[in-house]
Amino acid sequence: MASILISSSEEFSGKSSICMGLGRIFQESGLKVGYMKPVGNLLIDVHGSLTDEDSEGIRKLLGIADPGKYITPIHLTDSLIDDALRGVEKDLDERLVEAYSVISRDKDVVFIEGTGGIGGGSMYGLSDPEIASKLGTRILLVTRFDSISAVDRILCDMRIIGNNDMFIGLILNEVPANMEDRVSELVVPFFEKKGIKVFGMIHEDDTLRSVFISEIVEDLHAEVLVASDKLDQLVEHYLVGAMEVGSAIKYFRRQPNSAVITGGDRADIQMAAIESRVKCLILTGNMRPSGAVLASAEEAGIPVILVRGDTMNTIERMEHLIGHANIKQQVKLDKVIELINGNLDVPAIAESIGVKLQS
């Protein structure tokens, strides 16, 4: 049985996506795959018991039958932290090891997802390197390459890991288009020279950053006024319609995969958005648009959703949603798999943990 711990220096760097994508690729290669996120930090209630949102999503998408309590045996709650600070013993290691032994039973490979940043959990002895050492697994580092300072961060993470044998290599994730050349021409050779294996780099992807209109509706507690059958479409950006209508048309048609946020009384902006065939109209301030505008939106098949909050508030919610959306849907998993297969040396990752993939 092989295992691998996916770690990163910060949150939202793509650990879940990598676990999910690699998990599916390994499954397709005929391997029995297990998955764990030992410490759950995004707690949700599933059928009366608490579990982690990421791990629940991955469990479902990978079709894993193991119970949630073994997939995420430890929950990061206030009391866990308080006890750790007070020095109260919680037998966390035993829970971890027991869960791992259940999960790894009859599996060919287990993917273990780190919690938050690499050093997170140090106060209760469950930082990613500590977990790896307790379970005897090796670490794959995923880093969001948002600037050149990511190089410093990676070198720092390696010092935290300390033991070079425990580290198998790294994946550079979400590399912006303007840095791709620099990363491939300078950064990757730099790491390779230091003996650090780079399994590949994945560029920023709009599909993965995007959210479904239905997720927006849910998050904003919005009322759908028209085209409720079109909520399964992805929105890549949000645009704020607060300008003069002539500029709005130019602005909207450059990014048609957008949701436009505007006031319910801005019929001109609403029509500009509809004519530009944007994906969705979000009307703020609980102001209903005119019947004629709604009729045009319906004819164009563009959902119009009404929210109570003001524009600023709605922008803040959208800011949080786009780019931080979870991979809960098949369409995104497909995209993840496509990106992993296209950009990462998957056989090399498998080989580094002693697994051979069937071609």
Partner: protein, 697 residues
Amino acid sequence: MLEKMFDPDSVAVIGASRTKGKVGRAVLENLMQNGKLRIVPINPNVDEILGLRCYPNIMDVPDGLKVDLAVIVVPAQMVPNTIDECGRAGIGNVIVISAGFKEAGIEGARFERECISLCEKYGIAMIGPNCLGIIDTSSGLNASFAANMAYEGNIAMMSQSGAICTVTLDWAERIGVGFSKFISLGNKAVLAENDFLQLFEKDPSTAVIAAYLEGVKDGPEFIRIAQRVSRSKPMIVVKSGRTSVGSRAVSSHTGTLAGSDAAYNAAFKQAGIIRADSLEEMLDYSRAFSVCPLPEGRNIAIITNAGGLGILTADACYNAGLSIASFEEATVERLREKLPPAANFYDPVDVLGDAGADLYEHALDVVLEDINVNGVIVLVSPQAMTDIPGIAEKLAKKIQHSKKPILCNFAGGSRIAAGEELLNSYGIPNYSSAERAVGSMNALCNYYSIKHHSHEEPERQDSDLVFARSFIESALSEKRRTHGLESMDILKAYDIPVVDSRIAKTLPEAIQAAENMGYPVVMKILSPDISHKTDVGGIRLNLEHADDVERAYISMMSDVRHYMPDAVITGVQLQKMISGGKEVIIGMDRDPQFGPLLMFGLGGTYVEFLKDVSFAVAPVTGAEAKHMVSSIKTYPLIAGVRGEVASDIDSIIRTLLKVSQLVTDFPEILEFEINPLMVLPEGQGCVAMDIRFTLKS
């Protein structure tokens, strides 16, 4: 087409009613004013209405009655089924007066779509829904629920607002203005302005076309039809929703975009349409066209009995671009013969306060005969001894038979009312102010130019279409939609001169490129994400040696990364530094209503603030391109001021024509801009220094 809509032998009213105050009753009563019309009320609940045999359903009407037109006033949800029945009964024309369609919301929009597809299925011509109906005075048809029938006249009017129809009819009734046809357009679901323009064009009883529009359904077709129609009949249009608040109201009201006012202005101008700013102006102009011949020039004579009014009118003429006529010697002499010595014998002619009808008549006769006079404005103020009705009577008779336009301004209130009424009884307008009279005279003069302007078709400009097509297709295959400097080659396909330039990805490449080109050079950042290079330090001018290039490169990269950290930078472009030219901009923005809207303006920092730009809808003719260049306020700066050398204006016009061709050839281009186009002194051409365009996704 539509003959039986406006001149039917038999009309059915579906939803006819006995109840006073109901639309179904009002329509019936209006139709019954025409004794020759066979009227068939349809109502399942009664056998007869107002003495007419009533049928329960349109399908029950005997074939012998052969209904030409059905006026539908049943509730919206019943209309699709009613149209289906009309189709099955073989009726070719319907007017849907009922409201509750797209203007009311989603359900209404669904009814409207059903009506449209049924009309398509049966080949039915439909006016409305949500309209007042139509009136045709020559056939005597009043298929509307308007409170009054229009007088007979030669003005055809269509309006996108039913309320504006009633306002106009009411006003017209009071002052005796007549119409040939009166059409309330409603939601324009099937028949719209373009259909009626063609109808008015061929209608012998129509001499003038007036319209109130909130938008047009098919912009390019509207221009094409209007260009043809305006050569035979004047078209005066009020287009509302000009301002941001107005356009918001249009969108809210109709569920359409009001459209860019610049685009409407350009389209109207190219189509030969006279744009009125208000309903009052539209009616003022229409009345002038209704009674006056066209002036063959812009020289206007003013006859007044009050010096002050004459001066005000002269000022208004000047402001409108009309000239005050310079009389022939004989004219002055003949005026002197009868006018008192204190009178003014030059334009404006002051016949003095005590002038009677004979003096006015004499002055008018004399100035009309002057070959330097193209039109006359007559001003009458109510002095104690002024014979208002007498003067009005004389003027009315003159105006009716004059070969030159004469417009009147009886200025005042109750004392001139008799004169105004008398003029009205002859169908002649009285303008309540000098400015209104001058505005209408100006409209007449403008239309004379429109009518006699030789119309040319845009000429195809030479281009390497194969190269351009492959260039655009390769750009379309890229993920990004906006393209800049790196795509300058598209201009070469249209033979637009492009500045000598090299692309460099690194500093050594940049220095090498500059050395090869020869100094001085300009360095520009290459990035599809940056539209305003100057704002982010992305342009360095006049670099004279390798050291300059090095400093410019390093500081430019630092500046650009500071201002736009996320921008993709693909390198720099080095251009040959060109001096001694003037910078202009040629742009295009694809307008949702009219398509490619070309823009021309002077370049430089203040352009966006001054908004001194001209527009035209592509493809443009040579004359239109020339007009675009000469109509900006800062044109003298290009033409050369104070002994300055003139710029090569012909090369700007050529470039405009080529850009017009490019954006016409490729509807995929949504926005396009050459900025700046460097124009060299006359005879030396022009050079594109930078471009930017956005493609459809």
